[in-house]
Amino acid sequence: MSTAPAWVEFFVAALLVVAGLLSVVAALGLVRLRSFFQRMHPPALASTCATWAVAVASTVFFSELDGDLRLQAWLIPMLLSITSPVTAVLLARTALFRARQHGDEVPEPLPGDAP
């Protein structure tokens, strides 16, 4: 069995618990908020804070296990930090476009902005 020091195990365990709670909070926000533009925000909690917490936990755990620095888990939050804003902006533009088609009360397009 593993002979990890107690503080490593407690640190990893605390980070994992925090990540789980953040994810549940984000899901509750996704279910409970009223409009789509409000609901866009909670998933960012999971794709930034929770993912970083799990990545740091994974880094500490595997570094301790192998006795060497294992940073490859950080690739995942780095990738998500590039990709999730792209998805968010595309979805926001989609929601604005469809709301305008539907005739809802949303801000007018800026002059020179693509439709």
Partner: protein
Amino acid sequence: MSAVLNGATFFAIGCFVLAMVLALLRLLRGPAAQDRVLALDFIYVNGMLTVLVLGIRDASQLYFEAALLMALFGFVGSATMAKFLLRGEAIE
């Protein structure tokens, strides 16, 4: 694997599954198509986190590559669906 770490991985996986079930409610209820795409993107992120935590639980580095691929293809899927809703076609 101590009892503390075992319990923490179990708790984290339970939380991610609960979050996925709640997002599934949003996915089934809608009301608009972009809500469903957002919920599916959230489910992808949570599945990826579950795989990473399973990797810690099994002390295996193999799970990391699966999680990286899930993050990548989750983005491709969500961006394509959002583009489809915006334009009516995925590739212009």
